[in-house]
């Protein structure tokens, strides 16, 4: 049990993001607007690791993973930096080689989407979804494909008969399991999971998380897991990166981040979690999320930060290595863990 809490022993990285800046650049009727949704993010994801990305809505976490997946459309543009994958010795630079990116999609890099009802076509049987998503990427015959899909469903504990159902005949949990099956049928090296449990009923949430963890362990894949729910990160992520206003403000092994948060924003996220058996009053963060078209100067968290000093208002803190992780805060480590 305990060994799952430590970072994976293999240190070779599967994804390297360096100095990535992606902005929404708009120019309507002569008014230029620039929204810095991803601002100078560098991170590395190891093989066989679940990396959790946490942050509130409009913090830029969806833009970040879209940029990593190479699935951006204008007005979102990559301004600077690079996204490089390494799939077992086969290197891939997302923004240098669009052709290779096309080949890697689904085969090496896949995506678990949020609204399972919107992913599966409501007027076609589920088997067509598998065909549409994965058949082209596998390069095998129709009948071999069918048996591969059935095998895969069987392996993750779903009855292959669901292939003949329409989405409305299945429960929400079942549909989400199918989207997970869809994303993993090609046994990809890297999976992006965007809020896969947010729309689910409480009773099935744990089962879906266990399924994701189980598949990840068996295939040795890496997962970027995005959600604003810190309890989900606690349950499944090996390392967590906290995103605030387009910037990575803290990163570290899950256990360390929960025990000793270094950034005041992280400390707030963790201490505000309600728990059964304890109803003492918890404070809420004052203020509102910053507007990314006109972010605050210096540290973007300073208007809401209880520890802010003059330096925070004028100078942007760099992301520096501290203890087991990295943190971007002038007063890092001074926060009281809850």
């Amino acid at each position: 049990m305990l060994n799952t809490l430590q970072a994976p022993t293999t240190t070779d990285s599967v994804l390297r993001v360096e100095g990535l800046k992606a902005y929404y650049q708009m120019n309507y009727f002569g008014v230029r607007r620039e929204v810095r949704a991803v601002d100078d993010v560098s991170l590395t994801i190891n093989r066989n690791e679940i990396y959790g990305i946490a942050g509130e809505s409009s913090s830029g976490k969806s833009s970040l993973i879209k940029t990593i997946a190479g699935a951006i459309t204008p007005p979102l543009r990559v301004v600077e930096g690079s996204v490089k994958f390494d799939f077992g010795g086969r290197a891939l630079d997302v923004y240098a080689d669009p052709q290779a990116m096309k080949a890697a999609r689904w085969q090496n890099l896949s995506y678990i989407m949020q609204g399972s009802m919107n992913v599966l076509n409501p007027v076609r049987r589920v088997k067509h979804a598998f065909h549409d998503f994965a058949f082209k990427h596998m390069g095998i015959s129709q009948s071999a494909f069918r048996s591969r899909v059935e095998q895969h469903l069987h392996r993750i504990g779903l009855d292959p008969r669901v292939l003949e159902s329409f989405p409305h005949q299945l429960s929400g949990g079942m549909r989400q399991r199918l989207t997970i099956a869809l994303a993993t049928v090609c046994e990809p090296d890297f999976i992006i999971a965007d809020e896969p449990t947010t729309a689910l009923d409480v009773l099935v949430q744990q089962d879906v998380l266990a399924l994701i963890k189980d598949i990840q362990q068996r295939m040795g894949a890496s997962i970027i897991f995005v959600t604003h729910d810190m309890t989900v990160h606690a349950a499944i992520a090996d390392r967590i990166g906290i995103v605030y206003a387009g910037r990575l403000v803290e990163e570290g092994p899950t256990l360390d981040v929960f025990r000793r948060p270094q950034h005041p924003y992280t400390a707030h996220l963790i201490s505000s979690l309600p728990r059964i058996g304890d109803n003492k009053k918890r404070s809420a963060l004052p203020g509102k999320p910053p507007n990314l078209a006109d972010p605050p100067s210096g540290c973007r968290f300073h208007p809401r930060c209880p520890l802010a000093v003059d330096k925070c208002r004028s100078e942007n803190p760099p992301l520096v290595v501290r203890q087991t992780g990295r943190v971007a805060c002038w007063r890092a480590g001074e926060v009281q863990a809850a």
């Binding site: 509130e56 089962d207 963790i270 059964i276 058996g277 009053k281 918890r282 809420a284």
Partner: protein, 277 residues
Amino acid sequence: MSALLELQNVNKDYRIGGFFDSATLRAVKNVSFTLDSSKPEIFTIVGESGSGKTTTARMILGNEAPTSGTLRFMGQDIAAIHSRADRLKFMARAQPIFQNPFEAFNPLTTIDYFLFSTAKRFLGLRDKAAVDAATDKALNHVGLSLAEVRGRYSHELSGGQLQRIAVARALIPEPKLIVADEPVSMVDASLRMSIVNLFRDLRDRLGVSIIYITHDLSTAYYISDRVIIMHRGDVVEAGVAQEVLGNPQHPYSRALSQAVLPPDPEAARKIIMAKIQ
């Protein structure tokens, strides 16, 4: 002691299926509870989707008539309210807050329109200054002011702010009861606390009773005074929140409380790893 809201053996049936081949689905079965008017409280209805909690809320707001049983609000049978004047009087005392603040406000209309029309309709105000004053007062209760909100569209505000404005709108007629159906499920985890704290504050400062409907046991534990747990239309457990949620007896309430992930990596991981084996 007089009852603010009293539900007595309330049932609700829906007919499902076609014209020739139909069945009845009992969405709410025999629900009874009473809220006391002298002691404002946060009364929570917990349950998964399909448990009948929203149907109960709709009946309390008078949007749906019960198949049998009675709902009384301040002594008056809710299903027997027919005239427009009585209906307005009832609505001024019992106000709803909806799940998704982004859908609750028309995106093409400025937010203040909804606040002003609530003030005009329920308080009968005509004078511009009086309408502004009533709106500003309600917004102050939720930590905002009219100056911040005037002329803004819903897309210019964050989800947390919009939900606060939705609460402020409900507060304008100075209601006795607020029915909040999943008010935080569409709001970010980090902003959830500000809404939930606001409910506590309204109960303590303004003496408003709140019916809080949720599937999230951890926030239910955090703010509720009393709680009922519903499963397929039945109330399976009821009582003081800390006792019911801290030590659930019914198998369904136990399953619900076990479904809450603890905010602690070691404990949460053990649960997930146990599920894999």
